[in-house]
């Protein structure tokens, strides 16, 4: 009889536990021999740290990449995307092409952002260019909308102005928390007069080569209160933030639908009111954003060129003697995207540990299926994992996932650079016919 997978978790959520139990897997503690550890992000630090970390064996899998924070911490995500764009520019890649105003044509998908207090002066310069604009302040290390506030006057962020030449590291030590400040998107697309954002789930099974999958059943989260850009409502977080954790406490929160819409509803609405072509373009751009953001952080994955030292707040130096840890990893990210009224998508942030709490019955089913489909891909047939698995799941095993980008396939197909080989998502018409206006160089 085949040995049963031994699992551990430090997240007590039914959608997880039910999935493990239904596979007949055996629960163990982390001090015992385990095959599968679904861990919180605090735990992952310990597993891969220099002091307390340990080498994982071939039959052990974990649900995070050691350097996920390069993507999931707001300040690092911005840093990496900026770095990635500069690198492409240096290589004269067509992807880094700019328009007559100096804006990237294909890579302008994050709102203008600065680190505070480090970039305070740069921020002030930008702020003064359009003094009537609104900016959103977000603490780097928090989630669920905690600690976020809006400002439209420099005086509101006075305390980040001093010591601006200090690095964010020193700032933390001096008791000042690191924040990012981004240009607030004050022209979001409204549906029924309400603001919403998109939550999409993306599974990455390896970064080098990059293999990522988009969950078809993403959803829109609507604000329960009518959107108004008026300055008097800046303090009303129910108007501006779409985090369910915040909306849940508003008077109008509904426990039947939870203020959520499926992505297919969104598509139907946009196709019916705006037309099919622009809707397809929007979704193509969203897929593009996800893949580019993953490519931007792929350099942090093992194995990688020259080892480098870098400093992370409250985290140990990540130069680690534990090589090739990444083959033990996969990760399911929660991408937050906002669409503006010109149908342009913006990447707001990426979550390493998307909430597994269910706010409605539909929600529970969705998250249960999400974990189920994820496990079917990373632990095929429910068998003891082997970190050397080929990471090429057959189509039938994908469940509700669709291949977003498969770098291995793209490179091996030796395809014409202008065609989108390796990228399976796209509207029906392009699969059989020719090239679309959006850039198609995916290599």
């Amino acid at each position: 009889m085949a040995a049963k997978v031994k699992w551990v978790t430090d997240i007590e959520k039914s959608v997880l536990l039910n999935n493990f139990e239904k596979r007949g897997w055996i629960q163990v503690t982390d001090s015992e021999d385990w095959n599968f550890y679904w861990m919180s992000i605090q735990t992952i630090r310990n597993v891969f740290s220099v002091d307390t970390g340990y080498r994982l064996s071939d039959d052990q899998m974990v649900n995070h990449f050691p350097n996920h924070y390069e993507l999931t911490r707001k300040d690092l995500m911005i840093k990496n995307i900026k770095r990635y764009r500069k690198e492409l520019e240096k290589e004269s890649s067509p992807l880094a092409e700019k328009d007559e105003n100096g804006k990237y044509i294909y890579l302008d998908f994050v709102p203008v952002t600065f680190m505070l207090p480090a970039d305070y002066n740069l921020f002030v310069e930008e702020f003064r260019k359009s003094p009537s604009s609104t900016w959103i302040m977000k603490p780097c290390g928090k989630a669920q909308g905690k600690g976020i506030f809006l400002i439209n006057k420099l005086s509101q962020i006075k305390k980040w102005s001093r010591d601006s030449r200090t690095s964010t590291f020193v700032a933390a030590n001096s008791g000042k928390e690191a924040y990012v400040i981004s240009l607030y998107i004050d022209n979001p697309l409204l549906i029924g007069g309400k603001k919403f954002d998109l939550r999409l789930y993306v599974l990455v099974t390896t970064y080098r080569p990059l293999k990522c999958y988009m969950y078809k059943l993403g959803f829109c989260r609507f604000c329960t209160v009518k959107y108004t850009p008026s300055t008097s409502e800046l303090d009303n977080m129910f108007v501006h933030l779409t985090n369910v954790a915040i909306q849940k406490h508003g008077d109008d929160y509904n426990h039947v639908h939870g203020g959520k819409w499926t992505v297919s509803n969104l598509r139907l609405y946009l196709e019916s009111t705006r037309g099919k072509e622009v809707t397809n373009l929007l979704f193509d751009q969203i897929h593009w954003i996800v893949v580019q953001s993953l490519k931007a952080v792929a350099i942090w994955a093992f194995p990688r060129p020259p080892l480098r030292f870098h400093f992370m707040i409250n985290i140990h130096i990540t130069y680690s003697p534990v090589m090739n840890n990444d083959k033990h990893c996969f990760e399911c990210y929660g991408y937050d995207i906002i669409i503006d009224d010109k149908l342009k998508p913006w990447l707001i942030e990426v979550n390493a540990s998307p909430s597994l709490t269910s706010s409605t019955a539909n929600d529970r089913i969705l998250k249960y299926n999400l974990i189920n489909d994820t496990l079917n891909i990373v632990a095929p047939n429910g068998e003891i994992p082997d970190c050397r698995w080929n990471r090429s799941p057959p189509k039938e095993a994908l469940g509700n996932y669709q291949v977003l980008y498969d770098e291995e396939q793209a490179l091996s197909e030796n395809a014409d650079l202008r065609s989108r080989s390796g990228q399976a998502l796209g509207s029906k018409s392009t699969r059989s016919s020719s090239v679309r206006p959006v850039p198609a160089t995916w290599k």
Partner: protein
Amino acid sequence: MMEEGADLSVTIAQIVHRLKGAHLHSQLEKQARECLHRPEIKLESLKEDVRSFLKASGWERKLQNAVYRELHILPPPGHPAAPPEHTKEPLVYMRKAQASWEKRILKSLNSMCTELGVPLARKRPVSEQKELTNKWNEMGTDEPDLSKFRPVYAPKDFLEVLISLKNPNYDCREGLTASSHWGLIQISLNVRDIPQMREAYPELSLTCSQLGIDDHAHIPPDLFESEHIRIGKKVVSEQDSAAAQQYSRQGCPTGFRAQLWALILNATNEPEDIMHYEQLKAAVIHHDLLVDNLIYKDVKLTASNDDYYFVFEDFLYQVLLCFSRDTAVLEHFSYNSATPPKSYIQGKTGAEEFTVVYPPNGVIPFHGFSMYVSPLCFLYNEPSKLYSVFREMYVRYFFRLHSISSSPSGIVSLCLQFERLLQNHLPQLFYHLQAIGAQPLRIAFKWMVRAFSGYLSTDQLLLLWDRILGYDSLEIVAVLAAAVFTFRAENLMQVTSLASAEAVLADLSTLKVMPLLQVFLFA
């Protein structure tokens, strides 16, 4: 032969009479006057030249669409000696039943009014008017105390009335035999059976392609979809109502369904339509009606809890509150078996000259009424356009779903058609269900009254409504109800109570409408 010619000229006269003085008439006159300056208009051939100009500039097409619209709502030619009630509803016993149902509704409304001490209508104080104007786009955030208000009636109350309908000329006391009707409807009307439906709905056949089936992801678009889309674009650019209606039988592509439906219904969004809507909005601001509370309550109970439509809550108020005040809706009562309720100005009961229609549009909303509007919110995001389309849908189709009439699209015929279709197609299932006290109509009725809104997923519902518009009939709703039972027949044969039958049929959100219809009618 002579009569046909006479009928035709009567029809022409009627339509001309209706269009005379309408906005389109004055627009055409204006266009004709202005085109006189054009070089191609010659005095010798004035009439022909003006005609050609109107044709080339698309105005003739607009007139055609308007005539086409009138033809839709024109009642069939009747006997010159027939009273106007005959046009509303030819069968006396139906008229009587409708009248007594209306009395009941009005009684219920009046007693609620007295009980709660709320007037039927009230002028708003200026401060309240200001507040409402500011809140116009977010009435959903208002939390008025609605606990005391009850819906005036729910579909199941209406069903009981329909079940008790009896034709005094028809004796149906014979017992339950193989040839008798096993369902709840006790009257006999001429409804189409499967062979007749096949003849009338050839575009749904297995050999004919359509959206909802042949646009599936695995089917290459060159086979049907691309060509259908190309034709659709042409229909829209030609702005031809009749062509759009024919086209819709095979389904409307999502990208231009909104334009196609507006074309079929001849629902425009010209400045005069926008102005009309603004006037209605002003009426809402000035006066508060008792029925407004019924509307609020209905939206809060139905659409606000719906996974698809909760987003559009505010649009629903903006449409339904205006709808209640739109006296233009009263026109449709000439061919509706219903009659608008009348009320008397305070203190002048009985004096004919002091009667007012209440509500102003003559339609008292019932539980679930807002679901007629909800699906349209996916297509139109401009309130005046949304309003225009909804109103036309109502006066052409939806009114038939909650009034007692002999029309083939009326709810009575639909109930009968549903029962007959199911009994003839799956007699064993029908027999089993009625034997365990789970009469199929008791479950299917709520679907049909709402034309399936709120029961199907929206994309499927829109495909169904494409066909309602395409065939200008609600029969497809009865056919779909029978098809749903057929689809779940295996499970239904196992149940032993009404409750378990309801459970089997509780969730229709995964159903694909077109394959079900196709298989039921043609396979």
